[in-house]
């Protein structure tokens, strides 16, 4: 309920004067201030997407005819971040942390329980009908599984061309086939393959088709949900390179959701680490990978197997005990406390806020980035000691 009263505030100002104040209101919010204050390496311009206190609870029900709610899976539980024009924001986390739900919320494939998503100052969580369709033109998605994300009974031409059937204003009818072939060419596929079916392609080629579909409407933002995790190592690099090339070419902004920390570092400008529906830490790739301050980030990074046996032996390894708790019944206070070696009584009582830790405030150090830990301290676990 507390969220409800907060929710009206930015939305109201958006209505008053659409673009300018919408951004301003959010910038005065405590969370973005921190990122802005920090040495912002490149001019990233204005945020194109602003996510505020996003919540998604899936109700757990019982009963056959008359369902009654017996609880909720708190898949996403109050997430805030910004996405800037032309940047890539990586979101990492283990399975069940809610990162894929975030992708679906951003795409409006799921309806948020609470919170706002501002696209150019407009809250898209409340949109429907034609307004929503217009937003969809600008926010598109690339899916994880190239085998299930393409309709097996449609040709490649139909799969990509369907976008123009749905948004006829983008391409005149006589032009569509040519546009589809252009798109195939852009993603590095032979335009002659337009009449083939998905199963005639390899995984990497299918993912290119998925990317072409995502590009068809000239969107500004592409949400990528584990776009390369189903691909072979040698093909992953091709697809990652393609995505980077397309970003430069079309000035795309990516939200890149993945569990592979190396790939996320490679492609992202900024990275957010999620744990059990909350954002644990967020910052530039250097801040997160080289100067992590949240214990979960540190454990996650230290666990990544590195293809270099010598570097490996010299690195500190933090092996976590136990498993991720169920999002239906998350621990009180800090969600990571059940697996954290630093946990104290405070962690069970107080939910740590995502903010620049007190001790680093105002300091000119890469450790001064937002981290949701009561006892945040810097620890390099990636580089050999």
């Amino acid at each position: 309920m507390a969220e409800l009263s907060k929710k009206n505030e930015p939305a109201a100002s958006v209505d008053a004067t659409p673009n300018v104040t919408g951004v301003e209101v959010v910038e005065t919010g405590s969370e973005t201030a921190a990122i802005e204050a920090l040495q912002a390496p490149v001019d990233r311009g204005e945020p194109i997407l602003q996510v505020r206190n996003l919540v998604k609870h899936f109700p757990l029900t019982q009963g056959i005819l008359f369902k009654k709610q017996v609880g909720a899976v708190k898949a996403v539980d109050g997430i805030s971040f910004d996405l800037y024009q032309g940047e890539t924001l990586g979101i990492v986390g283990e399975s069940g942390c809610g990162k894929s739900t975030v992708a679906k919320l951003l795409m409006r494939l799921e309806t948020a329980t609470a919170g706002e998503i501002f696209y150019k100052g407009q809250d898209i969580t409340k949109l429907s009908g034609r307004a929503l369709k217009a937003v969809r033109r600008n926010i598109q998605m690339v899916f994880q599984d190239p085998y299930t994300s393409l309709n097996p009974r449609m040709t490649v031409g139909d799969i990509i061309g369907e976008t123009f059937d749905i948004h006829p204003e983008v391409a005149p009818k006589g032009d569509r086939r040519r546009r589809v072939q252009e798109l195939l060419d852009v993603v590095g596929l032979n335009p002659e393959y337009i009449n083939r079916y998905p199963h005639q392609f390899s995984g990497g080629q299918r993912q290119r088709i998925g990317i072409a579909r995502g590009l068809a409407l000239n969107p500004e933002i592409i949400i990528c949900d584990e776009p390369v995790s189903a691909l072979d190592v040698s093909v992953q690099a091709q697809v990652i390179n393609l995505m980077e090339k397309l970003q430069d070419e079309f000035n795309l902004s990516y939200v890149f959701i993945a569990h592979d920390l190396s790939i996320v570092r490679h492609i992202s400008d900024r990275v957010g680490v999620m744990y059990l529906g909350k954002m644990a830490e967020i910052g530039t790739d250097e801040q997160i990978y080289d100067h992590p301050t949240h214990p979960y980030t540190q454990a996650l990074l230290s666990a990544v197997p590195v293809p270099d046996p010598e570097a490996r032996e010299n690195r500190e390894r933090i092996i976590l005990t136990g498993d991720v708790p169920s999002p239906a019944n998350p621990p009180s206070g800090c969600r990571f406390r059940t697996r954290c070696w630093k946990a104290q009584d405070k962690c069970a009582q107080e939910v740590p806020l995502l903010a620049v830790p007190e001790r680093f405030k105002g300091a000119d150090t890469p450790a001064a980035h937002e981290s949701a830990c009561h006892f945040a301290e810097e620890k390099d676990v990636v580089h050999a000691a």
Binding site: F143, M154, Q181, P191, Y197
Partner: protein, 315 residues
């Protein structure tokens, strides 16, 4: 399909054909599921055989006079009582012999096709349409709608088929073909709805449905372009298998005296009537039964061929 109408500018097609498999070579036309399926079907021996058989059966049903000059009801008790078949007399009334009332079995088999095939095909169409729509709505939308429709399906499923049909049909004094069709359909749609619901639920969870939603596709488009084509295979299989069953059901009901009645001619009526002479003249029973079997088999083969053609992975 809408894609077929899209204008194609063939001259803009790139000329370089880089190791494209023969199937793709030189085709500039947009393809759709159905045009590709048709392309495949024309080459499938299974389809050609079954289609020819079905055409033959349909011609009997529509133009029985093409096959015989005689009448199915003309009876000559005195001369032709249970007269044996003359296997050499092709396409003549005496070919399959005569029944207990001296009527030509051949004529009756030809004229019986209309009622039997009408019942089989119409019931299948109605049941498939009804079951698919109900199953698709329940499966795709889920929630309360699914709960209600599924319970409704369960209730109908709980009615014993024969008992239900007996009760309904005895209520009618005069039973035309349509009464029988509607009665069987009324009781028969449940299994189709269940199959459709299951298939739709499976398809609904795939990423390409999400992808279509993410593009802003309307629910109608998602259902018709994505859900239905992918859920169709099991529906077609069940439908073609069931078709034979419906023809047999008509025969059963006729035998029990609540289906079609004389003077209507149908294979079911003939099978029902043949029991009286089964020891003396088995051909009176066998000939309409053979036709029922051929019909069932033809539609089964037809369904198999269509299902294969609709699955690009089998190309």
């Amino acid at each position: 399909m809408p894609e077929n109408t899209a204008v194609v500018n063939e001259t803009t097609e790139p000329v370089k054909a880089e190791a494209a498999p023969a199937k793709d070579a030189g085709t500039g036309k947009p393809r759709s599921l159905w045009s590709d399926a048709w392309h495949d079907l024309r080459r499938s021996p299974l389809f050609i055989t079954s289609a020819v058989l079905i055409l033959v059966l349909l011609s009997m049903a529509v133009f029985p006079s093409l096959w015989t000059d005689g009448s199915p009801t003309e009876a000559d008790l005195a001369n032709k009582y249970l007269k044996k078949p003359e296997w050499g007399a092709l396409f003549q009334p005496e070919w399959f012999g005569y029944d207990i009332q001296g009527r030509s079995v051949y004529n009756r088999v030809i004229y019986g096709a209309r009622a039997s095939i009408t019942v089989g095909v119409m019931v299948t169409l109605i049941v498939t349409f009804l079951g698919t729509v109900i199953g698709m709505l329940a499966g795709y939308f889920g929630g309360i709608l699914d709960t209600l429709l599924s319970r409704l399906t369960d209730i109908f499923f709980g009615i014993p088929f024969l008992l239900g049909a007996l009760v309904i049909l005895t209520a009618f004094e005069k039973r035309s073909v349509w009464v029988v069709i509607l009665a069987i359909s009324f009781l028969g749609w449940t299994s189709m709805a269940r199959v459709a619901r299951g298939a739709v639920i499976q398809v609904k969870q795939t990423d390409y449905i999400l992808a279509a939603k993410a593009l802003g596709a309307s629910t109608f488009r998602i259902l018709t372009r994505h859900v239905l084509p992918n859920a169709l295979a099991p529906i077609i299989v069940v439908a073609t298998t069931a078709l034979g069953g419906y023809i047999a059901t008509e025969a059963t009901l006729s035998f029990l005296g609540v289906g079609l009645q004389e003077p209507l001619v149908s294979w079911g009526v003939d099978v029902a009537g043949a029991f009286r002479s089964i020891r003396n003249a088995p051909y009176v029973l066998i000939m309409p039964s053979v036709l029922v079997s051929i019909t069932v088999l033809s539609f089964l083969m037809f369904g198999d061929a269509v299902r294969n053609a609709l699955d690009p992975k089998l190309r």
